[in-house]
Amino acid sequence: MRIDNAYFTRRKFLNSILGGWLGTLAVTFVSPIVKFVWPPYKEPDEVKLAFADFAGMKPGEVKGFPWGAKPGLLKRAEDGSFIAFIGVCSHLDCNVSWMADKKKFFCACHEGWYDENGMNIAGPPPKPLRRLETSVEGEDFFVRKPGAGAKA
């Protein structure tokens, strides 16, 4: 059935409403499922550590700390300041290790090398190790994402 000068039939009109509504309902069901399957778990913006654990580090020494589910690496520079890295290779996400004798970070997965400042110097890594900011506040030792700032 088609009304004069109409662009579509009654059948087409009803079918579109039914199909469209059913489709929209289906989409609203998918959205909570998607939220459940991809929950918003992210790496932390900052972690709080006890300064006492790191105060005794000698210059050039490297210690690990947990950055969420990733290994963090804390290095004491020659001038006594702290440099923190996320110990994950910028190539394919493998965890790197500190080679104390060579003073380099090494990723065993594809033989990637970083110098003691985290710069990629050899092998496939395309970028340096990610750097984090550190600050000592009383007895606490904070490690933060660059630009995350103090959250007191």
Binding site: L14, I17, L18, W21, L25, T28, D53, K63, G64
Partner: protein, 142 residues
């Protein structure tokens, strides 16, 4: 001939099943029973013993920080919305759900009525030959 075959089959079955029946047999003499009970009582509850070991086996960075051991929960978890935002979202979703059900059923009823009318009018059956009741699909039949 057939008798021999059956004898061999039964003997084979007995051979296969003998470890099972031996395991399932309950010792009848009191002395044997007591010894087994003693053995059982000495076996520690294994899963509880290994608890701390499984936790320390996690891959650790160079220095393992002192991790707080979560206390055993003693209260019952009662389901609840995480906040007013979630509560509102769920409420809106349910209103939308039931509205959809009502609207969709309205349209489906139209479709059903039309389908029934077309069927009873024998719209798709120009000839008068009786429909065959429930034939097998051609792909499954032969």
């Amino acid at each position: 001939m057939r008798g021999i075959r059956i004898v061999i089959l039964v003997a084979f079955a007995a051979l296969v099943l003998s470890p099972l029946t031996a395991a399932a047999q309950v010792p009848s003499s009191p002395a044997a029973k007591a010894s087994i009970e003693k053995e059982l009582s000495q076996t520690p509850a294994a899963p509880q013993e290994v608890k701390p070991e499984t936790q320390s086996a996690a891959p650790a960075p160079a220095v393992k920080p002192a991790k707080k051991v979560p206390e055993k929960r003693t209260e019952t978890i009662v389901p609840a919305f995480s906040g007013i935002k979630e509560r509102t979202a769920v409420f809106v979703f349910y209103v939308w759900l039931w509205l959809s059900i009502v609207v969709l059923i309205y349209f489906l009823r139209l479709w059903v009525k039309e389908s029934d009318r077309v069927y009873h009018a024998k719209y798709y059956e120009p000839d008068e030959s009786p429909r065959k009741a429930n034939p097998m699909p051609p792909t499954l039949g032969d």
